[in-house]
């Protein structure tokens, strides 16, 4: 029997329906897979967000822990942190949190730290970058072991007078700007300038570091390092010149010239013993060059002197000069380490930073009465007092602190203490003073840090005070100021004129010694910021006035006649002036300094407890 083929309808057996089911089923699967994919994607996004949020919370916690840490260790320790320093956090909450310092910049008042805080959670990592500002908490006293940064100026210096430093160790003269010396400096080891240095005077300076061209026409120098060109002329003698650009030498003599640029010895009489250059040498000198290494060419203009060395390029000289023994080494490399830039820290001078450190802060109130805020003075409770007169044995005597005064400045309450000794008991130390313009004349003032709002003109008298004024400071007449730390225990804590009145924060009676504090290193500090605007800051020192302590001028320092300062000078040039023009002679005497005096430490001290402040300047995610 032959197999029967079913007729047509039977052969199909519902294939259309089966096909439809199959096709629709496949489409359905596609739809479902698509939906799964999208939902899965959304879930992953949600999970990521969740994990990132967790990581962010942890990172911000870490940021706060870093702040607490900095607060705990204090500003001095925070200054020691270097890029790369890491913080480790303990505890289970801190797992997965790490922090690292990426940049640390320390300055006079504190340090600025950039810290990356990274935290991970569930595979997500969040990194928060924070910039912390750590200030305050500077330790009092303590000698600095580095070189004496005797003068720091924040703008150009034109010195036509003289500056002499006696007794400093490796005295450093820092200028943020150009330096033009037509006068003379003596006793200064190093001049650092962020701009050009032009020296014409007859000085001896061991090291000049400049970020721009150096031009020397006289004097003798040890090492000159510059990022720019060096030009010398006249009788200049230099031991070593290191220049990142060209050197043109027409001075008297140099032992070694290292230049990345070309070297030109343009004076026939110049004596240069060694020349190393990555450029070419053009020489006119007939003096011997004992060693020459030049990557470029050698050109001897004229007969030349004896030369020994190698050049990478061509050597062109009078072939009859048999003393020139130069071999040409094609591709010669002369290794010269480039000079790195000098940095001069801009010091901020703001009298208001020191107001809380003052033992006596003088101001006028709205009724034009003198108000004195007393802080840390033995025998006087901290608080605000009026300065007035009182009647003693039938005569009116001045300079008393009392809690209330009448319209003519007479104490209506029992005076608390006398804080200034005029020429006589009947003379007012502050006669003629008006709001923001203080006149101080007399015999002496109660020792301690005194603060004036406005300009202070300090006249006659012998003062054992650190004077800080938010305006200008002038000294005149027969005036002598000794900073608190300089004056020492006997003058500050056991003074006879104001018995029992001593700045208690400076005096350790049980140990019988002075406890130095940074504000006590200051003899004069002038200038302050009000709402971000600087005013005052000009210090004028009268002729022959003696200053024992450091001088910090917010704007400029002017000396008249010969001035001797037993301390450092900082001129912050925060005012409008563009340069410092010093025409007179200034002597800085750092010999025989008392142990309690640290001229370079004039940082702001908080009034009590030396509290460190840590502020977060900026934050961002990385």
């Amino acid at each position: 029997m032959r197999p029967t083929t079913p007729p047509f309808p039977s052969r199909q057996k519902g294939i259309a329906a089966v096909l439809t089911v199959l096709l629709v089923g496949m489409s359905l699967s596609a739809v479902v897979f698509n939906a799964m994919n999208k939902v899965g994607g959304a879930q992953e996004a949600a999970q990521t967000l969740h994990a990132v949020t967790q990581a962010q919370v942890k990172a911000w916690n870490g940021a706060e822990w870093v702040r607490q840490y900095l607060l705990g260790v204090g500003a001095a320790e925070a200054k020691k942190l270097q890029p790369g320093s890491t913080f480790t956090f303990g505890g289970s909450a801190a797992s997965g949190v790490s922090a690292q310092v990426v940049s640390a910049v320390a300055d006079a008042s504190g340090s600025t730290l950039t810290v990356n805080v990274a935290a991970s959670s569930g595979g997500a990592v969040s990194t928060v970058q924070l910039v912390y500002r750590v200030e305050g908490g500077a330790a009092g006293g303590g000698g600095t072991s580095g070189p004496d940064q005797v003068i720091t100026l924040s703008k150009d210096l034109n010195l036509s007078g003289s500056v002499t430093v006696n007794g400093g160790k490796n005295a450093v003269f820092n200028v943020k700007g150009n330096v033009t010396l037509t006068g003379s400096v003596a006793g200064i080891e190093t001049v650092n300038a962020t701009g050009k240095v032009t020296a014409g005077g007859s000085q001896a300076i061991q090291t000049i570091n400049a970020n721009d061209d150096v031009s020397l026409s006289n004097g003798s120098y040890g090492t000159v390092n510059t990022l720019g060109n060096v030009t010398t002329s006249g009788g200049t003698t230099v031991v070593v010149i290191n220049a990142n650009k060209a050197v043109t030498f027409a001075g008297s003599s140099a032992t070694t010239i290292n230049a990345i640029g070309n070297v030109t010895i343009s004076n026939g009489g110049s004596k240069v013993a060694n020349v190393n250059t990555q450029g070419s040498l053009l020489t006119k000198t007939s003096s011997p060059i004992a060693s020459l290494l030049a990557q470029g060419n050698l050109t001897v203009d004229g007969w030349g002197g004896p030369i020994q060395g190698k050049v990478g390029g061509t050597a062109s000289y009078n072939a009859s000069n048999k003393d020139i023994k130069v071999s040409v080494v094609p591709g010669l490399k002369v290794p010269i380490t480039p000079v790195s830039a000098v940095t001069v820290t801009q010091t901020k001078v703001d009298a208001y930073d020191y107001r809380s450190a003052a033992n006596y802060a003088f101001d006028f109130d709205a009724q034009n009465r003198i108000v004195v805020t007393v802080n840390n003075v033995a025998s006087i409770p901290n608080g605000t007092y009026f300065l007035g007169s009182t009647v003693l044995n039938g005569s009116t005597v001045y300079n008393y602190l009392c809690t209330a005064v009448d319209g003519s400045g007479r104490c209506t309450a029992t005076p608390v203490a006398k804080i200034c000794q005029g020429y006589s008991d009947q003379n007012n130390c502050f006669a003629g003073s008006s709001k923001d313009n203080w006149l101080l004349n007399g015999t002496t003032l109660a020792p301690g840090v005194v603060w004036f709002k406005g300009k202070l003109t300090a006249g006659n008298g012998i003062y054992y005070n650190s004077f800080i004024a938010s305006g200008d400071i002038e000294t005149s007449g027969s005036h002598s100021t000794t900073a608190v730390n300089y004056a020492g225990y006997a003058k500050i804590c056991q003074n006879g004129t104001f018995s029992g009145l001593y700045p208690s924060n400076f005096c350790d009676l049980s140990a019988g010694k002075l406890t130095p504090s940074p504000a006590g290193n200051i003899a004069f500090l002038a200038g302050g910021y009000v709402n971000g605007v600087f005013s005052g800051g000009q210090i004028k020192l009268g002729a022959s006035n003696a200053v024992y302590g450091s001088v910090l001028a917010g704007d400029t320092l002017t000396t008249s006649g010969s001035t001797t300062i037993h301390g450092y000078i900082t001129v912050a040039n925060q005012g409008r002036g563009t340069s410092n023009n010093w025409g007179n002679s200034t002597t800085i005497n750092l010999s025989n300094l008392p142990s309690t005096f640290t001229p370079g430490d004039t940082s702001t001290t908080p009034s009590s407890g030396g509290a460190t402040t840590v502020r977060v300047l900026w934050t961002r995610y990385l």
């Binding site: 629709v24 739809v31 698509n34 996004a45 990521t48 967000l49 911000w60 706060e64 934050t619």
Partner: protein, 237 residues
């Protein structure tokens, strides 16, 4: 001769078979229609998932970039370095945008709303303001798309924002959000804030932010109203 049994189906068999397959196919089509509608239809699983995913990622990107507002600028303030724009409209060409219209809104204690927020930062901590960059968030009022804007060398935001070109990155695609879900940006000066409140503000030593940005939006859940509060601690006022 044997009468051969007839092959094929009887009419009844055919009718029953056709009816059965019709029922099955119809049911399958109904299932298919429902499945596609719940997956791809309005409010379906796929667009909802995409919307939520884009919101999650887009807002995270917005937050990460917004946190850097004011970075590196000394005494950055909302008055000078942050700009809220109302009714902003930007013309797009490739990924470059230029401001067509919009008016700035003062940022104060009372929070104000807008559809573009622009800010300055100094990521390199350079001393010159020419190195500042400007960034921003922009919500298109018609398509409800969200863009992140950026332009280099932006020293004066107030003067420069309305001119010149911004480079735009799309954070949330156009026409994904409807009008009720659209992102709105509210900015106000807060008394004090800190990201995640992590700072021990009580000690009074931490710098606290004074600007709070609230990003409000709706997600795939109908009539949902969500908001995302971001504290900008770089702004001291």
């Amino acid at each position: 001769m044997n009468k051969q049994a007839p092959h094929g189906f009887s009419l009844v068999e055919l009718m029953v078979g056709l009816t059965l397959s019709l029922v099955v196919v119809l049911g399958l089509f109904a299932l298919y229609r429902n499945a596609t509608r719940t997956t791809f239809g309005p409010g379906g699983a796929a667009p909802s998932a995409e919307l939520d995913a884009q919101l999650n990622n887009g807002l995270l990107a917005a937050q990460l970039s917004l946190q850097g507002a004011g970075f590196g600028i000394a005494s950055a303030s909302s008055a000078n370095h942050l700009l809220l724009v109302r009714d902003a409209s930007m013309a797009v060409s490739n990924n470059q945008m230029t401001v067509a219209s919009g008016s700035t809104v003062a940022i104060g204690v009372v929070a104000a709303a807008g559809n573009a927020l622009l800010w300055q930062s100094n990521p390199l901590q350079a001393s010159a303001s020419s190195a500042y960059v400007c960034q921003g968030l922009y919500v298109n009022r018609k398509t409800h798309a969200v863009y992140r804007l950026e332009r280099p060398s932006c020293s004066n935001l107030a003067a420069q924002w309305s001119g010149g070109q911004w480079t735009a990155n799309t954070l949330i695609a156009p026409n994904l959000l409807d009008a009720s879900q659209a992102l709105s940006i509210t900015v106000g000066n807060a008394a004090s804030c800190w990201p995640f409140g992590a700072s021990a503000n009580a000690s009074g030593l931490a710098t606290v932010g004074k600007v709070q940005v609230i990003l409000s939006y709706g997600n795939s859940t109908r009539d949902s109203a969500n908001s995302y509060a971001i504290c900008l601690p770089n702004f001291a006022s």
